[in-house]
Point group: C2
Chain length 140, copies 2
């Protein structure tokens, strides 16, 4: 841990950038899991509506999910998660709850907490996550 300042910064920013590319896939996986659980199926049109994008955009991203080994889908037949996708969805869901709970505990209004968590959750490291859990345990 004796890197020059600019390398520390570069590493930090680089991490932030690559986090952005995974953030979208995480959102999709989270949403697909939710739709499968609550509606029984995850159709591209529903995904698009929930994310506020055009259906073509959703379809294109789903194909990226397939390439990444997170989802499966056959033409005109809805989207499903692979085991890897399920596992990711699980992690994302837990992390989301943790972030929202911490924000709420700090005094953030529920609306803002839910909305901001959507962006924040993708940038919370494992160390921070553990600190969050400790913090919540310590005050319950």
């Amino acid at each position: 841990m004796e890197l020059p300042t600019e390398l520390i910064h570069a590493t930090r920013f680089g991490k932030t950038r690559s986090a952005q590319s995974t953030a979208l896939l995480e959102d999709y996986v989270e949403l697909i899991a939710d739709l499968l659980a609550n509606e029984g199926e995850a159709r591209p049109t529903d995904i698009a509506r929930r994310l506020g994008v055009a259906h073509a955009t959703a379809i294109k991203t789903v194909s990226r999910l397939k390439r990444a080994g997170l989802a499966t889908a056959r033409p005109y037949r809805g989207v499903f998660l692979t085991e890897k996708g399920e596992a990711l969805a699980q992690r994302v869901r837990i992390r989301h709850r943790l972030v929202v709970d911490v924000l709420r505990a700090i005094g953030v209004p529920v609306e803002a907490a839910e909305a901001d968590a959507e962006g924040i959750e993708h940038y919370v490291s494992e160390a921070t996550l553990q600190a969050f859990a400790r913090f919540l345990r310590g005050r319950s």
Copy 2:
């Protein structure tokens, strides 16, 4: 506030997306302000090194900053911030400190707090920011 669920979600995600486009410009403005304050000048090469990108990328983004009215730069003469850019840098700096301080207060290790704040800060709304400030005041 009586939107259907999918519209609430869509709005929320949409906000997250557009936040991403401003996140990079905020990082640049913050860094340029820092370089101007500590080095006396902000050269594209330094910006690139600190952000861990190629210098050409930095130059291209600086020209976007100019288009957005945040910075000025004459060929071969370094980058400066406009009033608007200064104001943004100020806000970003304050917000960054607040996020780091809250993370630290919760028990996040300093390294993780600094690193995660880099990503988190761009997604913290005004309401959340105020809650953060209250939280810190309440425990000092």
